[in-house]
Amino acid sequence: MEHDTALDTFPKLLQSHVKLRPDQDAIREKALGIWQSWSWAEAATEIRTLACGLASLGLKRGDKLAIIGDNRPRLYWGMTAAQALGAVPVPLYQDAVADEMAYVLDNADVKIALVEDQEQVDKMLEVRDRCPLVEHIIFDDTRGLLHYEQDFLHDYEKIQQAGVEFDHDHPDFYEQEVSAGSGDEISIMLYTSGTTGNPKGVMLSNDNVIITARNGIIREDLTSKEEVLAYLPMAWVGDNLFSYAQSYVAGFCVSCPEDATTVAHDLREIGPTYYFAPPRVYENMLTQVMIRMEDAARIKRDIFNYFMQHARKVGVKILNREPVSLKDSLLYKLGNILVYGPLKDVLGLRRTRLAYTAGEAIGPEIFDFYRSLGINIKQLYGQTECMVFICVQPDGEVFADTVGTPAIDVEIKIDDNGEIMYRSPGVFQSYYKNPESTASTKTADGWVYTGDAGYFDDNNGHLKIIDRAKDVGKLNDGTLFAPKYIENKLKFFSFVKEAVVYGNERDFSTAFINIDLDAVGNWAERRNMAYSGYIDLAGQDEVYQLIKECIDKVNQDLSRDSRLGNSQIRRFLVLHKELDADDGELTRTRKVRRNFVGDRYDILIDALYSDRNQCHVETQVTFEDGRTGMLEADIKIWDAAVYPVNSMTQDAAA
């Protein structure tokens, strides 16, 4: 794999692939039942015409092109086309409600929007008056849009046509624009859905993106033969790096699933060699596996359990190339034929050489489950502000509770109050139209505050994240209180979907729990417990007992950590509703808004810190169709078991 530093923009990279591998697939999309494919050469022509089309609409260097929709080749081409003109693509979350979009569209001074379908167009029209700068809207899928007369709406193919003509009239235009592009030019603008306040537009230069992408490729020696499935939101930095930037740098092919409902199936068809997913995806996959195995015939289940047990014993060792006894390795080989191989195959991960997870911490047993199957899944620690890579776990040095060692060209330091800082070629230029945030995040000499608190593990020198720096507080007795850290430990249990822990400036920690309806529901059915729905199930004593056991384990675990030992959870309750982004309780990336939730359910918190063991609550909820209604429940409050803190062991929390 060649690294020609003259290729400092994506259009230039594209041209190099057209030379190097014109006929190799560049991108695929499952449409009309088959994988429609475009070679690099074909993709290049598509992009050229689109770029010319956009130019004919007046898109110029520095203008912003919003891109909204599911992962579709045409939308990815929109990015390159914009970059070819020196314009800046701004991908938005396709599931955002109109208002959220309005803010970004306006804040980013978007001039043209390239959207997927009617759904997005309708949202655009709804907020158009709030973003006067938007001049044109181009849509890919014409379904249902035939009768829209607005003259600023354009069918993608119409724009292509215009592009062809424009190209014909200005034959050299495209090449000139492309060669005019440079590394320090802004490559893309990604909005971070901050847990608080309005999203900020992170401006990344071509160098930021391309160098970081290349470093990642070098570190894991990826090739142009990789297969990747692009199924995560295009607006999210991860997708931009793995399904766009790295594809252009390494020259591998990216495949877009047919439809949200078929992702699992499409994953199996494509069989990615290089896979990326946030922890919850791996979590769901594992939950599904366990649920489906519950229905398996006795013998089969026994075989499965036996070999999974063996895998847990030696699988990780074998993956890390540590020596194991001949018997064990033979048994593992047998298991590979009977269980691991088939299982990986049905999951679609059989060919996966490298799998990343990031965004938040992943449960040890989830993590080990995949590793023991022989899937080389690794955690990385990253941020939009530096095009992802800060830390990556090196092969063979993978631990569930650390995020590994600094990525290539990345420097890391911990400041006095425990906050992690880094400096790297990927560090963003600035937040768009937001100098003060930029200043407060990025120091003059290029160091960036991550906002995360953490420390390098004394044993293996890997970075270990405990929590958001600002969230790390103290109990009244002065013990370090890292709610996220505890919440994650709780969420490692498949029964716990979400957990919100409180305790800052209080005497002890307490927790709200969201049960996982799939897992607990299935658990309940196997005990033929009747339940009418989430509320009912969440209220049952058996469920409370189940959750209590999880919490007790966490407490036991915490008690081993001298720094966090006293922040064990004393009292908890199981929430009567699932935390929901539509109610503003979660961010669009499904992160809990702790303070918001705290204010919303303050009665419950008071109850937790009183000696009451029940509390009545009324909540307003938003249904799928947008209507709202009231939800009432009497919520039980239970005590958890607390363990004496063992200050001898130092904090290699298992």
């Binding site: 009309l32 039942g33 379904r143 249902g144 439809d259 409902t261 078929t262 199936h265």
Partner: protein, 264 residues
């Protein structure tokens, strides 16, 4: 709903009477369906609604009356003739081909578009194969249109009711009909499924310009969807007109008060 482009008369039914033995099912029914409109036929159970559709697409042969479709007047026609002239339909009780997959059901819906003979099909080369692939793509467009990719290769027998209804619509659409007869497309669906189905009916009408005649019990749906409504009661024609006219027609109200459970 979006603006309608309703054209001239497409189908004209004149003085149709149909009876089985002594049982009189349809009694002197006359109405028309205009190019591109959505025409509803409502009425209590046993009003002869389904029989009316059966007459239109030639499954029942009326004793009296005539049917004019696209200018050609007939007393009766064989079902497959009706089909080849562009009349397709769905059924009150799902009539899918249980033994076949969603895709095959829809492909069967295209049988009139396929011509190659046994010989080529046996070899499955040349024209036969080409034809198969073309039509596969057409079928896939319908699957995409109805958003049933996930069940493409599943046998329809095991699908949930709502989806089966959708597949049946797909099978009818596969024939690229000019007149689409829908017999209670939303019967037994929950509100969400109904909404989807309404969406599809409207899209079919506006995207493909297909003329639609549908039988439905859900008054809300009927009033929202239809351009004109025909009301039958015990084989007799009770009223015919715009939704509001029909809604306020005294006879209709009486007929329905007679059997209030039929509402919605």
């Amino acid at each position: 709903m979006n603006e309608r482009n309703v054209g001239g008369e497409m189908l004209k039914v004149e003085n149709i009477s149909l009876s089985f033995g002594i049982m009189k099912v349809l009694d002197d029914i006359s109405f028309d369906i205009k190019q591109g409109e959505i025409r509803s036929i409502i009425g209590p159970n046993g009003a002869g609604k389904s029989s009316m559709l059966n007459v239109i697409n030639g499954f029942y042969h009326p004793q009296q009356g005539s049917i004019t479709f696209k200018g050609e007047t007939r007393k009766q026609m064989a079902p497959h003739v009706a089909a080849s002239h562009g009349i397709a339909r769905t059924f009150q009780n799902i009539a899918l081909f249980k033994g076949m997959s969603t895709l095959d059901n829809i492909m069967t819906g295209r049988n009139l578009k396929m011509k190659t003979n046994l010989f080529w099909q046996a070899l499955h080369i040349g024209p036969a194969r080409a034809e198969e692939l073309e039509n596969r793509e057409a079928a896939e467009r319908i699957i995409d249109f109805l958003d049933i990719q996930a069940i493409r290769k599943k046998p329809v027998g095991k699908l949930p009711y709502g989806l089966q209804k959708r597949v049946e619509l797909g099978r009818a659409l596969a024939a690229e009909p000019e007149l689409l007869l829908l017999d209670e497309p939303m019967a037994g669906m929950n509100s969400e499924e109904k909404e989807d189905m309404c969406r599809f009916v409207l899209d079919v009408n506006s995207e493909f310009g297909t003329t639609i005649a549908l039988i439905e019990h859900d008054m809300g749906v009927v009033m929202d969807l239809s351009d004109r409504v025909l009301v039958l009661d015990y084989g007799k024609q009770l009223a015919d007109g715009l939704p509001d006219e029909v809604r306020n027609n005294q006879d209709v109200i009486d007929a329905y008060l007679g059997i209030p459970h039929e509402q919605a």
